[in-house]
Symmetry: C2
Subunit: 286 residues, 2 copies
């Protein structure tokens, strides 16, 4: 039986730290502030917004929720982002994507101040995660993977890490963060040949393939730490990951789905907001 | 005996294409223009500037050379970059790095317009190569590696590619470009364990370790294509790569040093200038 890498435990421990940091910020008359920006009424967005708001408030972050109707124009949205950029009580801004089709997402990404980009959507944040510099923030999901590894004391130096997926929201940033922690990193994807052979040699395997159960026993080994980023609905209507759960019973440690990476993302969002507030204080201090 | 991947042949073929493209641009009243900016009189810079100028002029690019004294202030340099940004006859700008210590390199990187950043030094270019989008340009050296692979018709789809080095000037951008060409990519570095074992499984090996001869027979296999980015001076005062040349006689194909990657970089610079000029024309066309 593998060790279960419990996302809720990671989130609880991280929240505890954030509460202390937010409290310390208040000693300097700074209350960390998050703005959420949602266009339309998509159920997924509303659910995530609710979870993120609750989590952020629980650690001492002020949350301002901006909800715009589906027919909002690009100019109206850009105007709102401009006001958020200018508002010194707001340190981080989460914009729900995808936006309605009549809005140019690239223009929206370009409009947000990178220092408030707590979910890694701007060019500044992309360059930051690529260069390994504290410029903007990485997307919350790959950062959640790193928080889990840190929480369980898993040192990555010199480890062979394999990432499945090369998207800008998970695969590429995860690869960059693993490199930053001195892992030897291999990125696999849909064009990879003999993926099972490559994966089975990994000491740390991060799976963001987006296909339920695609990682089976052929990809695994008994000394492996497996982080499953996938969130899928299986034939029985239940949530499941990209890793076959029965086959994963042979590995050293694994994140469950649900209760793994997905349980940490809103806490990472809160962490980024607190860090964004801390950075403004450091700037003032200079 | 391996096939020699001849940098001069690649440069010659690419120059031929660029000459035609520059000529086509002139039909639209556009002459591609490069500005070189050098602070001080470092020998390496002067030599590269001379080579780059000659290569660019040979394909039909106008080159304006700006040479500032070592004691130039940051304000003076930023003022020059501002004028280059505003000059529509200049499509690309090459700034020699490192700059003197009294100048903040990050401020200089931030000042250059990303669309004129033909050597990949700006945040915009970094985000572009990371995201695989035509925003700014990648650094010339990793692009030179890709040009060599293209010239010799080496398809990367599904191939196992290993990159030695994780710098922002070679290792990371090379890894991103290989991913963009659908290779499965592993990044090794100084903290990698059993690097020889990982390297020896590679079908394509790009070495930017910066240590002469560090890649020996243990890293190689007879079916391998090896791109050696290293330029070192050996004990006898001769130029040599990071790959042991005698040991490399067993592989399928290899770039020599000198005469390999280093022979293609100035032509890649010229390619980026021509492409920057083409992009301005496309913008006008919209």
């Amino acid at each position: 039986m593998p060790q279960i890498l419990d996302g809720k435990a990671v989130a609880a421990a991280l929240s505890e730290k954030l509460r202390a940091q937010a409290s310390e910020l208040k000693n300097h008359d700074v209350t960390p502030g998050l703005a959420t920006v949602r266009v339309g009424e998509r159920g997924d967005d509303i659910a995530y917004e609710r979870g993120a708001t609750k989590r952020c408030q629980s650690v001492g972050i002020d949350v301002k929720s901006f909800v715009l109707p589906q027919e909002t124009t690009q100019a109206q949205l850009l105007d709102l982002i401009g006001r958020i950029n200018a508002d010194s009580s707001i340190h981080g801004c989460l914009i729900f994507m995808p936006l309605p089709k009549h809005i140019d997402e690239n223009a929206v990404r370009a409009a947000l101040a990178p220092e408030k980009d707590v979910d890694g959507i701007t060019i500044g944040s992309q360059a930051g995660v690529y260069a390994g510099k504290p410029m903007g923030f990485p997307p919350c999901t790959p950062q959640a993977c790193m928080e889990i590894l840190s929480h369980y004391g898993i040192d990555l130096t010199g480890k062979n890490a394999v990432v499945f997926g090369r998207s800008l929201v998970v695969g590429k940033p995860a690869a960059m963060m693993l490199l930053g922690r001195n892992a030897t990193v291999t990125v696999c994807h849909t064009k990879t040949r003999e993926a099972h052979r490559i994966a089975s040699q990994a000491e740390v395997l991060i799976v963001a393939a987006g296909r339920p159960g695609v990682v089976n026993r052929d990809f695994l080994n008994p000394d492996q730490i497996v982080i499953d980023v996938g969130i899928n609905v299986n034939a029985e209507g239940k949530l499941c990951g990209d890793v076959n759960w029965d086959d994963a019973q042979t590995v050293k440690a694994v994140t469950p789905v649900p209760g793994g990476v997905g349980s940490v993302t809103t806490t990472v969002l809160a962490k980024h907001v607190v860090e964004a507030a801390q950075r403004t204080l450091q700037l003032e201090g200079n």
